[in-house]
Symmetry: C2
Subunit: 211 residues, 2 copies
Amino acid sequence: MTEDGRLLRGERTRTAVLDRTLRLASADGLDGLSLARLAQTLGLSKSGLFAHWRSKEELQLAVIDHAREQWLTDVIRPALQAPRGVRRLWAAHDRRLAFYEAEKLPGGCFFANSYFEYNARPGPVRQLLGDQLTGWTAFLTRLAREAVDAGDLRPGTDPADLAHLTDSLGVYAAMQAPVRGAADTCAQSRRALLAHLRAIATDPTILPELS
Amino acid sequence: MTEDGRLLRGERTRTAVLDRTLRLASADGLDGLSLARLAQTLGLSKSGLFAHWRSKEELQLAVIDHAREQWLTDVIRPALQAPRGVRRLWAAHDRRLAFYEAEKLPGGCFFANSYFEYNARPGPVRQLLGDQLTGWTAFLTRLAREAVDAGDLRPGTDPADLAHLTDSLGVYAAMQAPVRGAADTCAQSRRALLAHLRAIATDPTILPELS
């Protein structure tokens, strides 16, 4: 095997391990990760894992980055396919709920779970999670601003307030789904944002009808 | 010491231990509790703790009940002092945010943290947490219904939808506060609900002005 081949295999192992670790962390918590237990669960040698991450914290930071990649692929990029304006903001909410409904992760929303888990734990993990939340709310705020600038929403609509409401409804769905069921929870979350967007839209007919 | 005296002292110890355990659980998670570590942290004998709770799960269930008592005292009862109607629903949101701002618990919101922690962990703890969430949303829905019945809100306002929006904004504040700061976070959460309530109130002037 050439050196390139080994590198490629290393990258593949890395991605496969991060996929499974992300699933575990979404259910058991990010702090519950341990390289020793992970090696056992995944049937890998501990030294093999250590070749990729030298500490639990390195692995945690890598899992957060991996979750961000998943969110980009499954939520953000599909949302960006919608036309710029209020429909794109709507698509971000809709795709996020579809992510929860499809049970992409056993724990529902890795990010929401981790934010709450690390509410009172300062350090590099908390910092990277905080950066992620700040980046995500900035993204939603940008979509809301574009919707105002496009004339889709009433002048005077505050983009930050609209992003705040949108993300509140999304996070709440992640929390409520295991108790109430994902279908009912996500249906109500869609209705709630759509009712608000219709009320402030200059032309409500460009927004979808929910079946 | 009489038997009544020992019983009283036992109850006092129990309450004091639950107070401190709730603080720990709000920061480190409910699953992170261990009777052994707790005994060490609180400087108590393990047998003393075992006299009150025979297992980690018994202690976890007792902590959830204790958190419910705290929420009753600090949020629900003060909110019920407000006049029935839209002002009482507003007071429930306002008192909850005041609870976060006062940093009553180092982890912010014990309930929100625990709901997310137990998203993927079925069992008696998850069940009791689910009952708590169901009870709380039923309480908010009742306040919203009373506000409609009192004529404070436009006829046709859906009480469950309004409760859903109210709780979404509250949970989001608990999540965002450690990243953005409690003051800014709670100010935005108050503005968001108040703007919505004003828009659907028959007489917006009965709602408070935010300073």
